[in-house]
Amino acid sequence: MLRTLIWKDVLANRFQLLLAATLLVASYGAAATLALLDPSQAAQPGGRQVAGFLLSGSLLSHAVAQLSLAVLSGNLIAGERANRSAEFLAYLPPSRGMVLRAKATVLGILALLLLLIPLGITGLGALFPGGLPWPTSDRAIARTEVFIWAMGFCASGIGWLASCCLQSNAVAILFALFSPFILATLIRIVIQSTESTAILLAANFSIGLAGFLIGTIHYLNRVEP
């Protein structure tokens, strides 16, 4: 039963998944184009060039992945309400819990793929002669990555919550996409200090978590499907 629900959710969201795949590939394309146009890169040894563009491609794809995840999470539940197929599912045997589990699985798997594939590709850079060592700003990259994924987690969490509550998937997706920026603005206003980065990180993560939890609880208890 769960497997069929997952199959159904994958097919129901195929455009969103296609978008994610396209953006993933496009990131590397963009990185390659930028690398070719940048004279300072051309000066580097070949291997390091490739490693460099793979790394920047991966970084870009991680950033763009958050968009894909936000769009998917906004569409997962509200999308079925928008085309009224949620009503059909409601009177079939699966419990709401199982329905949600299937959707969470699809979101989780996409997140995992969008995280690991770029990392794997970056790792390929190590195979190229002269590809190592990594660019020196290691720490900075790691911090940026964590930040990107935290914002993405916030976006997905809000997208999940909006999707659970709203009738319109389009609105849910918009909520998802804008939430990290609105959050950042609010925090910058409230906390007028330079150390807001750590707070921002924590805030993104907690809002995301809250979004997932509250959305789930609401969905399991609401009357309409």
């Binding site: 039963m1 497997r3 069929t4 159904k8 097919l11 129901a12 085309n83 009224r84 197929s85 009503e87 059909f88 409601a90 009177y91 079939l92 045997p93 699966p94 419990s95 009357v223 499907p225």
Partner: protein
């Protein structure tokens, strides 16, 4: 040991300011085909949705197959075939994909039966749901409901929006495809003649309350219209307790009595200034209308 398949005990359902069901108590036994009649907003859909575990009573309890509804929802839905008023399946699926999908949800799904029904209903298996006509969507939903040999079949306004030919088709389908495994069929409809054809029993709901629950033949046999002629300038003096509906129009005093007994005519004549009475047999549609209109106060000329 109870043979009640479905039991509503003093069920009340409130939605914000609106009381959809008002202390409703009704039981359905194995082997019955029941028509649920009532005007819009009477609570028919609420009743049916509650049986699927989609709504929780505000107070009172519902049990199906002897199980408590809210806690055993998935188990109960395994044994119920449901066709909603305007079924909307996944628009991007083909008919065959819908069947594939549904087959993995139901333990008792019979692929052989599904194939049989597909042919019988002349449904195009590779057609996308969004391209199906309303009648075909109804049939697809009915197929999904029947193919897992449900113990309880629930149809919510199955004829609405169908043209006369499609309706005929569906009625024929419902009669031909009655399964021995199906213990009870519940049908809510506005179409009185469809209910009269298909159902043995009828429940009339109004404003969340049950007005009557009887076998159709018994209801027709025990509900009569009495037309009485009032004497000049006189008004009715004593209304019978069994009056379901009444109206005075000049000298004509019409009333519908249930349950009717011939002796009531004599009582009526003795207690009121009337010159003659006629007893008229009425059909299900008129009975339904009279029950709904209810007992109205006598109007002064």
């Amino acid at each position: 040991m109870t043979t009640n398949l479905i039991e509503f005990s003093a069920v009340t359902k409130k939605f914000k300011n609106h009381r959809a069901l008002d202390s409703l108590s009704v039981q359905f036994k194995k082997g019955s085909t029941v028509g649920l009649l009532g005007p819009n907003g009477a609570g028919k859909s609420t009743c049916l949705k509650m049986m699927l575990g989609l709504l929780r009573p505000t107070s009172g309890s519902v049990s199906i197959f002897g199980w408590d509804l809210w806690s055993e929802g998935p188990k109960i839905r395994q044994q119920i075939g449901y066709v909603p008023e305007d079924p909307w399946l996944y628009p991007w699926m083909t008919v065959r994909q819908v069947l594939q999908f549904a087959s993995s949800m139901y333990e008792r799904w019979s692929s052989a039966l599904a194939e049989d029904l597909l042919v019988h209903m002349s449904l195009p298996p590779e057609c996308l749901v969004k391209n199906l006509s309303k009648g075909m969507r109804m049939k697809t939903a009915l197929l999904v409901a029947l193919a897992h040999r449900p113990r309880l079949l629930i149809l919510d306004e199955p004829m609405s929006g169908l043209d006369p030919l499609a309706r005929d088709d569906l009625v024929e389908m419902l009669i031909k495809l009655r399964d021995e495994e199906t213990e009870c069929i519940l049908l809510s409809s506005h179409q009185i003649d469809d209910v009269a054809r298909l159902a043995d029993e009828v429940v009339i709901l109004n404003a969340g309350k049950r007005l009557v629950h009887a076998s159709i033949d018994e209801l027709i046999g025990t509900t009569k219209r009495v037309e009485a002629v009032l004497l000049d300038g006189r008004l009715p003096e004593r209304v019978l307790q069994q009056t379901v509906w009444q109206r005075v129009d000049r000298r004509n005093w019409s009333m519908t009595l249930h349950p009717f007994d011939a002796a009531m005519v004599d009582t009526l004549v003795e207690a009121n200034p009337i010159s003659s009475t006629t007893v008229v047999d009425i059909g299900l549609e008129q009975i339904f209308k009279d029950f709904i209109r209810g007992a109205a106060p006598c109007c002064a000329p």
